[in-house]
C-alpha cells in the first residue's frame, strides 16, 4: 500500500493577544533576528496549548511535533476536544496557513472542504455559482461542466438554477453548496464536519454521499468531526488529538472509547490563588455516589452528589453557591443554586453539596460548572465552567420497559401520568 500523506514533525505556533504598537517593536526585534539568520526569539518560550491555564508567554503551540502517515484510500478520522488543534491541522493540511516547522508531503491533488459555499456570490445565479465555487475548490471549467447535471440533480434546486442565490432559502443554498463540494474529483479530501448541513433528511444524504466517496472510489480522506457517530460510520482509523499532540492513533472504536473516558473528570483540585478573588477561592470539586465513593460514571438509576469546597477569606458576605450543567454540545441544561438559604458566611473552609436525583438526566456526557455569587449586588466570585465532566449510563435490562433503544432528549424525568377512559365512543 502506498502512502498518500506523510506528516513529519509538524508544529504550528500562534501569537495570541492583541496586536498593537507593542507588537510592532517585538516584530522588529523578531525580524532583525531572522534577518541575521538567528532563531526566532519568541518561539523559544512557547508552551503547550492548554486553554484552561493562563500561560506566561503569548506564543502558543497549537500543534506540536505531529508525525503520522495516511495510506492511499484510507479514511482517517480526527477527534479531540475544542482547542486540541483539529482546525489548525486542517488549515495547515489545506494550505490555508503554513506550518511553523515540519513538512507535509502528499501524493495526488488535494481539496479541502472546511466550509460549504466558499466564495458564493449572492448576485450570481445558481449556475454561475456552481462554476465559481467549483473553480475555487480547484476544479477546471470542463470538469464542472461534466459534473454539472449530477450536481444540480443532487442539490434538488433545478427550478431555481438561473435565479440569483440571494433569493434562495438557506436550505436551498447549503444544498447547492454541498452538492458542488460532493462532486470534487481530487485524490485527497480534507473534510470538516460542518459539511453535513441542512435539514435532517439532507444531512443523511450528505453522510451517505460521504460514505460513497470514501468507500467506492479509493480516495484518501481526512475527516474531522465532533459527531462521534459520523466518525464511527465513516472511518476505520482515527487520530485523537490532545493539546496539539497526537495522544493516540488506532482503530476507531478503541480511540473513541479512549476519547470518551478522557473527557470524564470526576475530581479536580485547584491551587490557592488559581480560581477566585479576594473573598473566596475554589479548592476542589468532585462527584460522589450515595455510598460516598467517587463516581466515574453514574447509572441512570443512581443519585449523584456534586460537592465543591471553597475557602472564604473575608467574612460578612451573603454567598450563593450555584452549579451549572451543560450537555455535550454545550447547550445549557440548567442552573441550580442555594440562594434561598440566604446564609451569611464567616471565614473558613466550606463545602456545598448538590444532589442530582436519579432518573433525571438522560444518558450521555455532561459538563458541570461550579460558581459562587454574592448578594446583594450580584458579584460573581468565580465561575469555573469546565469543573467536572461525567457520563450517565444505563443498564437497559433494568429499564422496566419494552423499549430498549436510546431515549431521545437531554432530560428524562419520570413524571406523573393518569389515563382514564372517558366514554365508549
Amino acid at each position: 500500500m502506498t502512502t498518500a500523506i506523510k506528516v513529519e514533525n509538524l508544529s504550528k505556533a500562534y501569537q495570541i493577544g492583541q496586536f498593537s504598537t507593542g507588537t510592532l517593536s517585538r516584530d522588529i526585534e523578531r525580524w532583525w533576528a531572522l534577518a541575521r539568520g538567528k532563531e526566532d526569539p519568541f518561539l523559544k518560550i512557547g508552551e503547550i496549548n492548554d486553554r484552561s491555564q493562563k500561560g506566561t508567554s503569548d506564543i502558543v503551540w497549537s500543534l506540536k511535533d505531529l508525525n503520522f502517515e495516511v495510506n492511499q484510500g484510507e479514511v482517517l478520522g480526527i477527534i479531540g476536544k475544542n482547542g486540541a488543534g483539529k482546525s489548525t491541522l486542517l488549515k495547515v493540511l489545506s494550505q490555508v496557513t503554513t506550518p511553523t516547522t515540519g513538512v507535509i508531503k502528499m501524493k495526488g491533488r488535494i481539496s479541502s472542504l472546511l466550509e460549504v459555499g466558499t466564495g458564493f456570490h449572492p448576485e450570481l445565479t445558481g449556475r454561475e455559482n456552481i462554476f465559481l465555487n467549483g473553480a475555487i475548490l480547484g476544479m477546471t471549467k470542463s470538469e464542472v461542466a461534466r459534473k454539472f447535471d449530477e450536481i444540480v440533480d443532487f442539490s434538488g434546486v433545478e427550478r431555481y438554477i438561473d435565479t440569483p442565490v440571494k433569493r434562495y432559502s438557506s436550505g436551498m443554498y447549503v444544498r447547492l453548496a454541498f452538492a458542488v463540494a460532493a462532486h470534487l474529483e481530487s485524490e485527497i479530501l480534507v473534510v470538516d464536519e460542518v459539511l453535513a448541513v441542512g435539514d435532517a433528511e439532507f444531512q443523511k444524504k450528505c453522510i451517505g454521499k460521504m460514505g460513497d466517496i470514501s468507500k467506492g472510489e479509493g480516495r484518501t480522506i481526512l475527516f474531522v468531526s465532533h459527531i462521534l457517530n459520523m466518525i464511527k460510520s465513516l472511518c476505520r482509523k482515527t487520530i485523537f488529538l490532545e493539546d496539539g499532540t497526537i495522544r493516540s492513533i488506532g482503530q476507531t472504536e478503541v480511540i473513541i472509547q479512549e476519547y470518551l473516558s478522557s473527557k470524564k473528570k470526576t475530581h479536580q483540585i485547584w491551587e490557592s490563588g488559581a480560581v477566585g478573588d479576594h473573598v473566596v477561592e475554589l479548592r476542589s470539586a468532585s462527584m460522589i455516589k450515595s455510598n460516598g465513593k467517587e463516581a466515574n460514571t453514574i447509572d441512570f438509576t443512581e443519585d449523584l452528589y456534586v460537592e465543591y469546597t471553597y475557602l472564604v477569606k473575608e467574612p460578612g458576605f451573603r454567598l450563593d453557591p450555584n452549579i451549572h450543567i451543560f450537555d455535550q454540545n454545550g447547550n445549557y441544561i440548567f442552573v441550580s443554586s442555594d440562594y434561598w438559604s440566604k446564609k451569611v458566611y464567616d471565614k473558613g473552609l466550606y463545602k456545598s453539596v448538590m444532589k442530582i436525583p436519579k432518573k433525571m438526566l438522560n444518558t450521555g456526557i455532561y459538563n458541570l460548572g461550579v460558581a459562587l455569587t454574592s448578594y446583594p449586588g450580584t458579584t460573581i466570585h468565580f465561575f469555573e465552567r469546565d469543573a467536572l465532566t461525567f457520563e450517565v449510563t444505563e443498564d437497559v435490562s433494568n429499564r422496566e420497559m419494552d423499549f430498549m433503544g436510546k431515549m431521545p432528549g437531554v432530560i428524562r424525568p419520570k413524571l406523573e401520568w393518569e389515563t382514564i377512559k372517558i366514554s365508549d365512543k
Partner: protein, 288 residues
C-alpha cells in the same frame, strides 16, 4: 529546516508543504492551473457590478463624463489652467481615464486580503489570482471607457482641430501595462502591510486622491518649471499619464529617458509587490 531528496523512487511527492517558500515566485504553473478561476473571478466582478442596476454597463461612462465636466469647469474655466493646446474635454478625459484605471487597480488590490479573508481562510488557491483578476476586470472597464475617448477624438477631428498621435500610438499598450504593474505592485504592498497593522489602509483613500494632484491629470507637465517640475516628474505615474496623452492625442512629454524611468520604477514596484505579497499570503490568516 533541511529537506533533502534522498528518498526512494516511490517517494515522488506531488505536493510538499513546508514553512519556507521562495522569495520571488510568480507560480506560473499554478496560475495556469487556476486560469478558469481567474476568468470566473473577472466575470463575477463585472457581472456583480451592474446586476440590479437600470443603466448597467452605462455606469462605466457616467463617472468619467461627470468628472470631465467638473474638471473643465473648475480647472479649465475658473482656474484657467493650460491644456497643452488641446481641447479641454479631450485633455481631461484622457488623463481621467488613465488615472481611474490606475487608482481602481490600486484601491481594490490594496484591500485584497481583507476583502477575501473569508475565502482565503477556508480554501487554498494561488492568492495572486485575486489581485490579477482585479487588474483584468478593471482592464475591461478601462477598455470600455476608451471607446468614449475614441468617440471624443473622432468628434474633435471632424471639428477640424489639429492633433493626433504619430507612431507613438504603438506604445499605448505598454503604458497600460506599466499602469497595471504600478497599481498591482503598490496595491499588493499595501494589502500585505495592512494585514497586521491597519494604519496604512487609512492612508490609501485620501493618499490616492492627493497623488492625483501630483501627476499631470489636470495640468500638463510642460507648464511646470524648476523644482516643481522635478517633484511632479519623479512621481512614476506622471510620465505614464504623459505617455498615454502622447500616444492617444499626440501632446505631452515622452522621451527615451522618461520611458526608461517609468519602466524601471514600475518593474521595481511590481517585483517588490510580488515578493511582499508572497511572504505574507502564506500566514496572513493568522494575523488578520
Amino acid at each position: 529546516m533541511k529537506i533533502k531528496n534522498n528518498y526512494s523512487d516511490s517517494d515522488n511527492w506531488d505536493l510538499i508543504i513546508s514553512p519556507r517558500k521562495k522569495w520571488f515566485d510568480l507560480q506560473f504553473r499554478q496560475l495556469w492551473a487556476y486560469r478558469d478561476l481567474l476568468m470566473l473571478f473577472v466575470r463575477r466582478d463585472v457581472v456583480a457590478f451592474y446586476k440590479q442596476t437600470i443603466f448597467g454597463p452605462l455606469w462605466y461612462f457616467i463617472q468619467p463624463v461627470a468628472t470631465t465636466i467638473v474638471f473643465v469647469f473648475v480647472f479649465g474655466n475658473l482656474a484657467g489652467l493650460s491644456t497643452d493646446g488641446l481641447p479641454q474635454p479631450l485633455f481631461y478625459l484622457a488623463g481621467i481615464t488613465a488615472w481611474n484605471y490606475f487608482s481602481d487597480c490600486l484601491k481594490k488590490t490594496s484591500t485584497v486580503f481583507r476583502d477575501n479573508q473569508q475565502i482565503f481562510g477556508k480554501v487554498y488557491f494561488p492568492r495572486i489570482v485575486s489581485p490579477i483578476s482585479i487588474i483584468l476586470s478593471n482592464l475591461l472597464k478601462f477598455g470600455i471607457q476608451l471607446f468614449l475617448l475614441i468617440a471624443l477624438i473622432i468628434y474633435y477631428a471632424f471639428q477640424g482641430v489639429d492633433f493626433g498621435p504619430g507612431w507613438e500610438v504603438l506604445l499605448f499598450p505598454i503604458f497600460v501595462l506599466l499602469m497595471a504593474m504600478q497599481g498591482l505592485g503598490l496595491g499588493m504592498i499595501i494589502t500585505a502591510l495592512t494585514t497586521k497593522y491597519r494604519d496604512l489602509s487609512y492612508l490609501v483613500e485620501f493618499g490616492v486622491q492627493l497623488m492625483m494632484y501630483s501627476t499631470t491629470v489636470i495640468y500638463p507637465l510642460s507648464t511646470l518649471g524648476g523644482k516643481m517640475y522635478w517633484v511632479v516628474a519623479l512621481n512614476p505615474m506622471t510620465f505614464v499619464i504623459e505617455g498615454i496623452r502622447v500616444s492617444t492625442l499626440g501632446e505631452g512629454i515622452l522621451t527615451i529617458y522618461t520611458m526608461g524611468y517609468v519602466t524601471l520604477v514600475s518593474t521595481i514596484i511590481f517585483i517588490v509587490g510580488v515578493i511582499i505579497f508572497n511572504r505574507v499570503e502564506k500566514n496572513f490568516v493568522d494575523t488578520i
